[in-house]
Symmetry: C2
């Protein structure tokens, strides 16, 4: 038996991990823009990256090295180092070499970037800034602030897993999201650290599985970035491990951060859970759930708090899955608005449905009524702020 | 040889066709909301409908009858007669029977609807209103106004095709679009009438082909409605036909209306042509072009007149097609902003690119640089008006 307890913290919660975030002049007005994570002993590393073919330089750099271990990650905001070709990779080498020269305890360092596409990395600023790092700092708050782009709040979480016999391990994490969040691997950076004694292959396989139901089930705007990255670093320092508990804690962390990213989607005011059941199979349920979470018409109806169930039905129908109006049922939380061909929506039901739509979090449940395929996706509304933020992001 | 000339007109331009639009109280403030098209001799009919599985009652009604001929179409706005089950079909029968009783010259009438989903058809109002139709009217303007929903202008066009030897035929059309326009068959109604002497099978095959490069290449918001319909009626009264000329005129009409719909997309201020060349094949080019025309990040950058070519590159990369930054090139009209890995964008180029973005119509051209697959799609920007219109459509 084991218990998983939420603790105050982030990427420094696990033993042996250090982190900080500082301002080096990439963001305006002194905002933190450069972060590191460091472990004082070697780590095994698991990773998931974007499916975008225009993969950013940091991801190409990581893959080129076929990297499964390392004890240091450098993260900058404001520049994605994407579409920068071979020069983008050389820039990373130069930055990381300078860091290794300055801090000999760093082994196999990794770089991660987020920001504008198609501009060379400001490597001089980054190198000069990184020279000021203090690797003994445990400021997970600073680190999680430094990686923010259009996020309105920083995102971090930590768990302690207590096993029978008094042993325990910890997992902590930070993430940034906001725009370009999408089922095909959200535009996001997420860094997870743990002192669990887990081997690389096990950790990679748990990460792959958990990604499907968490980050890949979250959508803000259906776009997939060039830089999406999830890294998990394990230094084994606790000497403890329990596969089921590890998986449970990792999935809880990733689901929490995925939902936090959606809730903080650009201009979002609502976090909506799209539960699809009764589909012919799980894949069809996933297609429908993601079609709902990505539909502009659904998103704008959510923003308008308009219980427009017709758009839900139409979106399910347009998704291409097997379905029929005579077997479909739709609920807003517990309020059934359409049941197997029966038009329930009337002057009495409308205010009940509208009251659900006014909540910050609620569930839209579609039962396709055919078989037992199911999937749950997470999405947000789309309002004026999204347009405002994205109409002029570069300036 | 033949010539295709644009003429002033619409669905009444071809010989023997009549149409009108009247107000029966479905829309507010006297706006026209019920239209008919009538031919005084029998027509063959070709059709294309939505791919949405939640097909609206009018389309189910049409398909049930396996209809290839008829001389009358009734079109109402404000109610889609979708998700209304068997009762929705019965409502149509009742309306059309009443019309046939009143006007014995009507044969195999068809009904088409657009508006809110999930509300029973106001059939009493529609029947009472339709009794006032004057089938000798040739008011194509009124008809095209009556079918509008959130359209800001009515859409119609007509061509006269002059053949060698003095024979000629005409094709006229009207359409409504605005929201829910999408590559997988736009949410739209389009009615095309012709006095060409064409058989049903030929007309259907030309319509299917032309749909791919016109309505199915147009996107406003990536949604596909329950009611999308294109109907072509041919009464043969001109006694003239020329396959190539007919195809040319039909495609020109459909492309014009597709672009008009995009230009009048909800809240749209720009009509953008996405030309993708150099893809591995035409299908990959189509996938990339449609990904661009549907990307929220691209659409909002257009609205902000921000020459953010990085989002173009990222969207191509996210589309899943074969591509690489080292072979990709991007132009805004004639301004090349990225060429095969070369970062061209600088302080000198930016104002040139920005000037293109300020135009109402321009071309974004992506050369994938791999082979000779190509496709052209049409899209618009997404601004505050889209959110405003869709956040509260029902009320």
């Amino acid at each position: 038996m084991y218990t998983i307890e939420s603790i105050d913290g982030g990427v420094c919660s696990a033993t042996g991990f250090y982190a900080d975030g500082i301002h080096i002049g990439l963001k305006k007005e002194g905002a933190k823009d450069l972060a590191f994570i460091y472990s004082d002993t070697p780590c095994v590393i698991a990773s998931v990256f974007t499916t975008n073919k225009m993969t950013a330089a940091p991801i190409r750099h990581f893959r080129k090295k076929g990297q499964f271990e390392g004890n240091f990650v450098l993260i900058n905001a404001k520049n994605a180092n994407a579409m920068t070709g071979p020069a983008g990779i050389e820039d990373i080498d130069e930055v990381l070499n300078a860091l290794s020269d300055k801090f000999p305890q760093i082994q196999h360092p990794i770089m991660s970037s987020t920001g504008v596409i198609g501009v060379r990395l400001p490597k001089k600023k980054i190198i000069e800034g990184a020279m000021k790092f203090d690797l003994s700092k445990r400021e997970s708050n600073n680190a999680s602030e430094a990686i923010m782009t259009t996020d309105t709040f920083s995102k971090r979480i930590a768990f302690e897993v207590k096993l029978e016999g008094g042993k325990s391990f910890r997992i902590g994490a930070m993430a940034k999201g906001a725009g370009m969040i999408n089922p095909a691997m959200a535009t996001m950076l997420c860094f997870i650290t743990t002192d669990a004694l887990v081997d690389q292959a096990t950790m990679q396989s748990v990460l792959d599985e958990c990604t499907k139901t968490t980050f890949n089930a979250a959508s803000v705007d259906g776009d997939t970035s060039t830089n999406d990255t999830v890294l998990v670093m394990a230094n084994g320092k606790s000497g403890a491990f329990h596969p089921e508990a590890f998986r449970g804690a990792l999935e809880a962390i990733m689901l929490f951060l995925a939902k936090e990213m959606v809730r903080d989607g650009e201009g979002a005011t609502k976090l909506v859970t799209y539960k699809v059941t009764g589909a012919q199979n799980n894949i069809q349920a996933e297609v429908a759930a993601k079609a709902l979470s990505n539909s502009l018409l659904v998103k704008t109806a959510l923003f308008g708090e308009d219980p427009n169930w017709g758009r839900i039905a139409s979106t399910v129908g347009a998704s291409g899955i097997e379905c029929d109006e005579s077997t479909l049922s739709i609920w807003f939380d517990d309020v059934c608005v359409y049941r197997k061909g029966e038009l329930l929506f009337d002057a009495k039901l409308e205010p009940l449905a509208a009251a659900v739509m006014q909540k910050n979090r609620f569930i839209i449940h579609c039962d396709i009524g055919l078989d037992d395929g199911s999937f749950t996706a997470y999405g947000c509304d789309l309002g004026h702020e999204y347009v405002k933020i994205n109409a002029d992001y570069r300036t």
